[in-house]
């Protein structure tokens, strides 16, 4: 029975998925009804996840561990899912006949990611990872209309399967040197053999799969196209929820080396610097808002990696915090995008012109989200960066903090350009005021409060993340 309780969030999401599977079999689609169901279900799912957030235990013959680390990420995943579901009221980017499948895939994907963060066995991890990937592979090409976006689906798929090929190859090497597929045993076994090429290469290649999910340079190549090509809601989901799982898994796997491999750290440093720099630089020249955010997400992957590459609990905690903050801020931005582009088209930066007049509240949410992403206090994004850099500097990587801050300055430029569009520019043509319903208002305020609260009062969250990070060791 206790086992059942431990698995409750996942079970609930399976239930949700099945429900929408059944819905998908119905003859006449009812998008509004589906949306209500989805919001309610995911909200209940969130509640359940939160309620079970302090559970601990092992399941499925030790393949599955429920602990603070996994539960925090499950809460984040559920939270992101609720938000995406909430914003799916403007799901115009997907044919209304496919909405049931859309919700089904989202639920499955969230479920897969929840299993991913809890899994402590390589095959389980791989299969969960593939399940979530497959759902996303399918969600991306669901975009209705414009054919030119369709290529993103096939690109995503090809890059995804290649990365997954690397990953399974890496897992095989880990299996070869560690003689086991259990992560806890690997943690014990690997540091001793980490100087063996197979061990470290296996680790790196396994990480490559997660880097792909996190869109870290050079596994980022799908991100701009997919962000641009997928419907707004799916992009939001990929940009927020799936990043959580990826971050969690990178934290888990980076810890496998036990800090015994300077080469790995060097590699991660190089990747994080490359990712930050590349993302920020290329974002400077973007016109499409979602594409810009894609590059920004590449840069943020670099920041998260800075926290991770310290390979100590402080760094991991900071990375968890950063991921959570990133979820909130990124969703703030995407929510506004979805509201503004309520017909589901791709928002160009200049289309934001006059947003402050069309909806001051949304504009404020958007602004805080952007500033959060840019790392300006008192938003959560700043505190996240602060923690990440603190961890890096504490470990002795002063230069990394400097490079990170310089990058943050570069990134500020394009965030400010977006901000300028929303607050300063006069619209070329008259856009209608945006209908903001009560729920959206509430959501905006919640997001604003969360962004600032996380930024100014990080104490509880930080201790929580630290407790979570400690469970990894």
């Amino acid at each position: 029975m206790t086992d059942f309780m431990l698995f409750l969030p996942e079970l609930f999401f399976i239930l949700g998925a099945l429900l929408f599977f059944i819905f998908s079999l119905r003859k006449s689609p009812n998008p509004a009804g589906f949306h209500r169901w989805a919001v309610v279900l995911s909200a209940v799912g969130l509640l359940i996840t939160v309620a079970s957030s302090h559970q601990e235990g092992m399941l499925f013959f030790n393949c599955y561990r429920v602990d603070l680390f996994s539960q925090i990420f499950k809460v984040l995943l559920a939270l992101g899912t609720v938000w995406v579901m909430f914003s799916s009221s403007e799901l115009k980017g997907i044919d209304s006949r496919q909405h049931a499948e859309y919700y089904f895939l989202i639920f499955v994907c969230t479920l897969a990611m929840m299993m991913l963060v809890s899994s402590v066995e390589l095959l389980t991890i791989y299969v969960s990872m593939e399940l979530s990937s497959y759902s996303l592979y399918l969600l991306v090409p669901m975009r209705r209309g414009e054919d030119r976006y369709f290529e993103s689906g096939v690109k995503y798929f090809m890059i995804g399967v290649t990365s997954s090929g690397f990953m399974i190859f890496g897992i095989s090497l880990l299996f070869g040197v560690g003689h086991t597929t259990y992560v806890p045993q690997l943690i014990k076994a690997l540091p001793a053999v980490i100087h063996q090429p197979a061990a470290i290469v296996g680790l790196v290649l396994t990480l490559a799969g997660f880097f792909f999910k996190l869109a870290l340079f050079p596994f980022h190549i799908w991100a701009p196209d997919v962000y641009q090509g997928a419907s707004n809601q799916v992009t939001t989901y990929i940009a927020t929820v799936s990043k959580m799982a990826a971050a969690a898994m990178i934290i888990r796997f980076a810890g496998l080396s036990g800090g015994a491999s300077p080469g790995l750290v060097k590699l991660l440093i190089v990747l994080s610097i490359a990712s930050m720099t590349f993302g920020n630089l290329v974002a400077l020249i973007q016109k499409d808002l979602k594409r810009l955010l894609a590059y920004s997400s590449i840069a943020h992957a670099g920041y998260i990696l800075i926290g991770i590459l310290t390979l100590n609990s402080q760094g991991f905690a900071s990375a968890i915090y950063y991921a959570a903050a990133y979820l909130v801020m990124n969703y703030s931005v995407f929510m506004v995008i979805m509201k503004v582009a309520d017909d589901g088209h791709n928002l160009q930066i200049k289309e934001l012109a006059g947003l402050y007049k069309r909806s001051p509240l949304l504009a404020m949410t958007f602004m805080l989200g952007l500033f959060g992403l840019a790392g300006i206090p008192p938003t959560a994004g700043f505190t996240g960066k602060f923690l990440v850099f603190a961890a890096a500097v504490h470990k002795g990587y002063l230069f990394l903090a400097i490079i990170g801050m310089v990058n943050a300055t570069i990134s500020l430029y394009y965030y400010l350009i977006v901000f300028k569009a929303a607050y300063l520019l006069k619209p070329v043509k008259e856009y209608p005021a945006i209908a903001v319903d009560m729920w959206t208002r509430v959501m905006s305020i919640v997001l604003v409060v969360m962004t600032i609260y996380l930024g100014l009062f990080p104490d509880q969250v930080v201790s929580l993340t630290e407790a979570a990070a400690r469970t990894l060791f």
Partner: protein, 102 residues
């Protein structure tokens, strides 16, 4: 002959051939075929380790089985995406899909 490194080298070769296929084939189905080679290379690794190194002889085999299953699902999804692309673009050449860039 029947040593670990032989298998590992063969698997490396298969993996690299798969990579090569992915990197230079323009036919999307051709790329998908190459991906299958990647997975098979990994499977071969698993089986080899299972045979030569690992104490429990079952794990590797089970993993191989699951990877095969996943490969099947992957192929199904991949082919469906490719077919959808073909319906939209009347081509399954990856070079037809390079409008999004920058």
């Amino acid at each position: 002959m029947n040593s670990l490194s032989t298998y590992l080298i063969i698997s490396a070769l298969l993996f690299s051939l798969g990579l090569l296929g992915i990197l230079q084939r323009r036919n999307l189905i051709g790329m998908l075929i190459s991906v299958e080679l990647l997975l098979n290379a990994a499977n071969l690794n698993f089986m080899a380790y299972n045979r030569f190194l690992v104490s429990d002889p079952v794990t590797g085999q089970v993993i191989t089985l699951f990877v095969m299953g996943l490969a099947a699902a992957e192929a199904a999804i991949g082919l469906s995406i490719i077919l959808a692309l073909y319906r939209k673009m009347h081509s399954i050449n990856i070079e037809a899909a390079q409008k999004m860039k920058g």
